[in-house]
Symmetry: C2
Subunit: 107 residues, 2 copies
């Protein structure tokens, strides 16, 4: 299921899954969390959450640090910039459309 850790995972694919977006959200609210504190937020088992975290790590959206027997995860938001850059190209299109619609409504 997983690529080798050193292989880069597509950021767009990484954020496509709702579980992974929720993981990103939870990690945004706290500096660092071990796996066993992340797991109870979800219905699925620990291993499944761990796999989602691995996919986020492959996209470098999440960083990893071992501390004793715990494995702590933290958010690294930078790769999301790529999505933002991609979107910025299309922003002008929907803004144009919104402007046109606004003009029509004002007439």
């Amino acid at each position: 299921m997983l690529k080798k850790t050193d292989e880069k995972r597509d950021v767009f694919v990484a954020i496509a899954d709702p579980t992974r977006r929720q993981l990103i959200r939870i990690l945004a609210d706290s500096k660092e969390l071990p796996l066993h504190e992340l797991t109870p937020h979800f219905q699925m088992g620990r291993t499944a959450v761990s796999k989602h975290l691995m996919i986020l790590r492959e996209a470098d959206i999440v960083r990893h640090r071992k501390s004793g027997r715990e494995s702590k995860y933290r958010l690294n938001p930078e790769p999301l910039q790529e999505v933002k850059d991609w979107l910025s190209f299309y922003e002008k299109f929907w803004k144009e459309r919104a402007a046109i619609l606004k003009n029509i409504l004002e007439e």
Copy 2:
């Protein structure tokens, strides 16, 4: 493979595929294109491209119109706003980080 056309497709899933992002890009550059003009941009066959367009339609990123024997597709960028909204929450995180890094470098 496909959901019923009236079922809403997740925008994040729709943009996760590179072929679909390229379709979005091509359609951004032209008002409207029939399937047989979109197909030669890709290595895959017509049916595959058609399916990708269907997924984009289910996410309402692409609109569809039949004109004679042609089937014309055009971009509808509005749903991308949802991605932008999602990103905007995390923007402050990477900007903070960038600022911290900048300060360190300036010392």
